[in-house]
């Protein structure tokens, strides 16, 4: 199915957000996640299903002022 990850189109067979992060090699990374504009806590990622057209945001610590 086709989804949007960080603003870019992507193809995935992932069933859950946790599966998607595994696909992207970010399963153990220091990241925060949101699906369709709503934050998904670390502990909930394996419960959130990924569906066609979903918009996923994966954020990490970055330099900031």
């Amino acid at each position: 199915m086709k989804i949007i990850v960080n603003g870019e189109p992507a193809e995935t067979g992932a069933g859950t957000l946790a599966d998607l992060l595994n696909e992207l090699d970010l399963a153990d990374a220091m990241i925060a996640t949101a699906v369709n504009g709503a934050m998904v806590r670390k502990v909930k990622r394996s419960e959130i299903a990924i569906r066609d057209g979903d918009r996923v945001e994966i954020l990490a610590p970055m330099q900031g002022g």
Partner: protein, 276 residues
């Protein structure tokens, strides 16, 4: 423990220590440092060490599975052992700011958030209406909000009513290095809120600007560009640390009154008479 009261400020001192407290957490350094725009990660790390800062600001940005830039940055910050104050930089709506704050709490495991809701692109001036609304939502949800605001006293009152126990008025527009544009307004804010920790955030360009903020009775200064964009960021970080200490010491030393006319500091009595 002695209590020193000066210009409506009560500060506890213990063996020379003069900590500042934000939401019940005491830190020694009154310099909060941003982590953006440094020439290299190594210089960033060295500048943070030279600044003596206990708190650094960080942001959240999109991570790519390939580059993993955020992971190496986080490793660097974690190794320094400083507290992080995540920001909502760049957010222009209440929803963006609240969602970013929620993600930051999940990521950094801290209730602290430097709340920015930007209202204007040229000045990066806060949208104070959105700021108050976002502060209310986040405070109710257990966040400890550090709002980036202006020196407007009514907005400040509303932020406090919304649950903020720290206020961070701008000195000047972010990244401008202009210093304290409105010393009168900042002085008024200090006088109106003697018990609230106040941090000058944004616009500071020189160590003297930071010293002035401390002399006005501000509890701390938050800056980034002035250090990161200096020719020698590490040296500038050290300079700011010293200026902030000097300004704070000057405040606590109870400065003399200013006067319009000269007053000789050298005794007039006993002056020799030559000629005439």
């Amino acid at each position: 423990m002695d209590a020193i009261t000066s210009n409506n400020l009560t500060t506890s001192t213990l063996a020379g220590a003069d900590p500042v407290e934000f939401y019940g957490t005491q830190v020694a350094s009154r310099l909060l440092l941003g982590t953006a725009q440094y020439p290299s990660p190594a210089i960033l790390a060295e500048a943070i060490r030279a600044s003596g800062s206990d708190i650094v600001t960080v942001s959240l940005r999109r991570e790519s599975g390939a580059a993993k830039a955020g992971q190496s940055f986080w490793q660097l910050i974690r190794d320094l052992g400083v507290k992080v104050l995540p920001n909502t930089a760049g957010c222009k709506t209440v929803k963006e700011a609240v969602t970013t704050a929620e993600m930051a709490r999940d990521l950094f495991d801290t209730p602290w958030v430097k709340l920015e809701v930007i209202g204007e692109d040229d000045t990066l001036q806060p949208d104070v209406f959105g700021l108050v609304e976002a502060a209310r939502i986040l405070s109710r949800d257990g966040f400890q909000v550090f709002p980036y605001t202006t020196e407007d006293l009514v907005v400040a009152e509303k932020l406090i009513s919304a649950g903020c126990e720290v206020l961070m008025p701008w000195g000047a527009p972010i990244g401008s290095g202009r210093g304290l544009n409105n010393p009168y307004g900042l002085r008024s804010m200090r006088a109106h809120f003697p018990g609230i920790p106040l941090v000058v955030d944004a616009g500071v360009g020189l160590p003297s600007h930071a010293a002035m903020a401390m002399e006005l009775g501000y509890d701390a200064v938050l800056l980034n560009t002035a250090v990161a964009k200096a020719g020698d960021p590490v040296r500038m970080a050290r300079a700011f640390a010293r200026a902030i200490e000097a300004g704070r010491e000057g405040l606590l030393a109870d400065p003399m009154e200013t006067r319009d006319m000269a007053a000789p500091s050298t005794p007039v009595m006993g002056r020799a008479a030559f000629g005439q």
